[in-house]
């Protein structure tokens, strides 16, 4: 009867005002691969962190093998037979594989005795699960796929019976991902229980036995994978949301103002985050980029706006090239008519310790209208800020107030006012309404439409699918660094959801 490996009952967790997990119930059968799927911010990672003892639930109980277990720290989780492969590997990069595997499970004060045993054990594990890896290789010299294998070995070495994998394929190539799935099957055959956290439907369909769907902190459904379909899951994941009502006439696109050709961007780990992306944005249209966070949208925005170097590719701004692979300079791009509302408002778009008026010139502080010689023209800056405050209804209407003291919505309006009032040719916006109160959302959406109607080319990136659908004139879906499809904004949520989850040929899948 005791075939339940893990059972969660009434898990609830709040971070300040954010209700990350709402009364979660979940049971995972022993010897199965159980998927947990949901959009970013759905609460999957928080739930798994609670299971691994990184956080404590505010209320609720965890049962492992039918016994109520208190998991106060990772130690307790390890003792209970739970292992975790983190999204960002928890490896010491200049250690060898063996050292990483032993860390925390050394057996004795002096390593030597343990090393021999660890080598044997590692060899056994390698053979049993076909997880070859050179124990003396240095982690940072290994490809990402092998590093992940070390993480799995680490958990197995500690005797994990239950293995949690958090977005394991985010950094893998498709071939590596396939290999990983074979390993997971193997582990399942050996009787291990696997919890697979992902936002990719293809993976869920490919390897899981059961799947639970999370949405906005809630566990909305659990299905047997064989009895469900990608459509059903996509819908459960995205939810049937009321389309936000935005007054919007038809677009009248003009010349191409922003053109991106074969852009590839690599992150600091050497992983290609944007892969050979091409698209155009015309005057008077809004091009929306939909996708689950972490699929390369951030890197795309940063490369276009000159903050991050691209590896290859060409970007033309009003027909003139931007040196995205070389010396692209954000301040030069501003002069050439590119305005950028960054995704990370708090760390990039604003200096929270500055007062409102200081932030209202960030990036444009070299404009002569704010300067008297080398000095800032404080009166001009404050008057200008006051005008924007009025026009954008920023509250409280005080240009001298510290920016940290404004609400999220008002902070965003400060950025928008700064970028939109410059009358740019191209407006690039990332997550315009993230962390913004409902009242401000409507205002911000209206402004974006107005920019379009004034003949600007608008590139909009958002993880909020309904935002993209209600604002964009064309929708591009990004997945795994590539643009996997272009759709009209009135395409069904299900179809867009499938694209966002990496199911490319939606027509075929729909049959």
């Amino acid at each position: 009867m005791n075939d339940i490996a893990i059972e969660l009952k009434g898990i609830d967790k709040k971070f300040g005002l954010v209700h990350a997990n709402k009364n979660i119930n979940l049971s995972v059968r022993k010897g199965t691969i159980h998927g947990i799927i949901g959009e970013n911010g759905a609460g999957k990672s928080t739930l798994m962190s609670i299971l691994y003892g990184f956080y404590q639930a505010d209320t609720g109980d965890i049962f492992v093998d039918g016994r109520k277990t208190v998991i106060r720290d990772p130690n307790a989780a390890i003792a209970a037979g739970i292992g975790m492969v983190h999204q960002h590997f928890m490896l010491v990069e200049n250690f060898t594989v063996l050292e990483n595997i032993m860390l925390g499970a050394e057996e004795s004060q002096i390593l030597n005795a343990g090393i021999t045993k660890a080598r044997q054990e590692l060899k056994r594990l390698e053979e049993e699960y076909e997880l070859e890896v050179d124990p003396d290789a240095i982690i940072e010299e290994l490809p990402v796929g092998l590093q992940q294998r070390v993480e799995i070995l680490k958990a197995l070495y500690r005797g994990a019976e239950i293995l949690i994998l958090d977005e394991p394929t985010g950094v893998l190539t498709p071939a590596e991902a396939d290999h990983l799935f074979r390993i997971l099957e193997q582990l399942k055959d050996q009787g291990k229980t696997i919890l697979l956290i992902t936002h990719k439907l293809r993976e869920i369909m490919a390897v899981t036995d059961e799947v639970s769907v999370m949405r906005r902190g809630e566990m909305v459904a659990t299905r047997t994978t064989a009895e469900t379909s990608v459509e059903e899951l996509a819908e459960l994941m995205v939810g049937r949301r009321v389309l936000l009502h935005v007054e919007k006439g038809p677009a009248s696109p003009g010349d191409v103002l922003l053109s991106v050709e074969n852009l590839t961007v690599r992150d600091s780990r050497g992983v290609d985050m944007v892969r050979n992306v091409s698209f155009n944005v015309r005057a008077g249209e809004i091009v929306g980029i939909a996708g689950v966070a972490g699929n390369g949208q951030s890197e795309l925005l940063q490369a276009i706006s000159g903050i991050r170097r691209a590896v290859t590719g060409k970007v033309l701004l009003q027909g003139e090239p931007i040196h995205v692979t070389g010396k692209a300079d954000p301040s030069d791009l501003r002069h050439r008519g590119l305005a950028h509302v960054p995704e990370d408002r708090q760390h990039m778009g604003l200096v929270l310790k500055f007062d409102e008026s200081e932030n209202s010139i960030l990036g444009y502080h070299d404009d002569p209208k704010y300067l008297k010689g080398m000095f800032l023209d404080i009166d001009a800056i404050r008057n200008d800020a006051a005008d924007k405050i009025e026009k954008y209804d920023i509250r409280p209407p005080n240009p001298r107030l510290k920016t940290a003291n404004f609400s999220g919505g008002n902070q965003q309006k400060i950025v928008l006012a700064r970028e939109m009032e410059r009358d740019p040719a191209v407006l690039v916006i990332g997550q315009p309404t993230r962390g913004v109160d409902v009242g401000a959302i409507e205002f911000i959406h209206k402004r974006i439409i107005e920019m379009r109607d004034a003949g600007k080319a608008v590139l909009l990136v958002s993880v909020e699918l309904d935002e993209i659908r209600s604002l964009a004139d064309r929708v591009l879906v990004m997945f795994d660094g590539r643009i996997v499809g272009e759709r009209a904004p009135d395409t069904s949520e299900g179809e867009l959801g499938l694209l966002m989850a990496g199911v490319e040929d939606t027509k075929e899948a729909a049959q």
């Binding site: 990672s45 962190s49 691994y52 990184f54 720290d73 990772p74 130690n75 307790a76 989780a77 390890i78 975790m84 983190h86 960002h88 928890m90 490896l91 010491v92 990069e93 200049n94 250690f95 050292e99 990483n100 032993m102 860390l103 925390g104 499970a105 050394e106 004795s108 004060q109 002096i110 390593l111 030597n112 343990g114 680490k154």
Partner: protein, 323 residues
């Protein structure tokens, strides 16, 4: 033969001045490999030198002096630990503060307790460390070359000297062959990995700063109770910073630390020896240039022109559990 004797003398004083550098640099190694930067080596050493000199003269025992030196140094190390681990304060600022507190307090307390202008009383027999002769040192002294090396260079040092040199392989062993060392190195590189492995980052880092305190304490005791017989104000005279430079120069590796300290000690010994004497090829080198050389070399290394000194990756960053 005369050159040889001179060389022996220079090497002998190289060993003498290198000892506190080795101890302090290894102290810093324990702390910095665990991710806690410590520019307060100087202050801890100074406070320990004072505590050692003072306690040894009051209680008439070198061992009590050593104990006091270590105790005081560990206390200061714990202040640094509290500021940088528990309070997540700025590690550089904390280190600077400890240097000044030690610099001032040793003089004030010394003057209040002993009234000798910041000195502690001259340590007599039994109150300070004495040198030990290796067996047959006297008998072998006359054997050419080897005998001289044995009896003049290897023999006749303090126990602490042998201890310091023995500490180098020991530290290497601890770092690379024990569980503590494995975890210590890990926490300085990626505390997240240590935390998820179920090990307490905080307790591990505290143990590292305590190790640092103990060794700084011994270094200080060597200064006031072995190298000289009593504490003199400001007697560390920048040795803590030279040790820091040596640690960086050694790229945070124990055996390299020893060679870096010997190199810097050698430069020091040469600069004293060479005052006014010309060198064969380069002519007369200003003694100040020799004194500045350790720092210049370290800067050049830091600039990445000769190899690259990469500090422990998590160094200087307080650990905040966050995902």
């Amino acid at each position: 033969m005369e050159y040889f004797d001179t060389l022996i003398v220079i090497l002998q004083s190289t060993v003498r001045v290198s000892v506190p550098l080795i101890l302090a640099a290894l102290a810093g190694l324990y702390s910095e490999r665990a991710g806690i930067f410590d520019i307060g080596l100087e202050g801890k050493m100074l406070a320990a030198a004072f505590a050692g000199g003072a306690a040894a003269s009051v209680y008439g025992s070198a061992l009590v002096g050593l104990g006091a030196a270590v105790f005081v140094s560990v206390c200061l190390a714990l202040v640094h630990g509290f500021a940088s681990i528990t309070q997540r304060g700025n590690q550089i600022v904390s280190g600077v503060a400890i240097n000044f507190i030690a610099l001032g307090a040793t003089v004030i307390l010394g003057q209040a307790w002993f009234r000798q202008g910041g000195r502690t009383p001259q340590l007599g027999e039994g109150e300070r460390f004495t040198t030990v002769e290796l067996p047959f040192a006297a008998e072998l002294a006359d054997v050419p070359i080897l005998g001289s090396i044995y009896s003049n260079l290897l023999s006749g040092h303090f126990l602490l000297t042998y201890f310091a040199f023995a500490l180098v392989p020991f530290t290497w062993w601890v770092l690379y062959r024990t569980r503590f060392g494995l975890r210590l190195r890990a926490v300085g590189e990626n505390p997240g990995a240590v935390d998820t492995a179920g090990i307490s980052v905080i307790w591990l880092r505290y143990r590292a700063v305590i190790c640092c305190g103990i060794l700084c304490g011994i270094a200080g005791a060597y200064l006031s109770m072995a190298m000289t017989a009593g504490f003199v104000k400001g007697m560390t005279a920048g040795k803590g910073f030279i040790a820091l430079a040596a640690l960086i120069f050694a790229k945070w590796k124990p055996v390299n630390v020893m060679f870096a300290c010997l190199l810097f000690g050698f430069l020091d010994a040469m600069s004293i020896r060479m005052q006014g004497n010309a060198l064969p090829i380069v002519g007369e080198v200003p003694v100040q240039f020799m004194q500045a050389l350790p720092y210049i070399l370290t800067v050049i290394l830091l600039a990445g022109f000769i190899g690259k000194a990469i500090p422990p990756r998590a160094g200087g960053v307080p650990y905040v559990k966050e995902r």
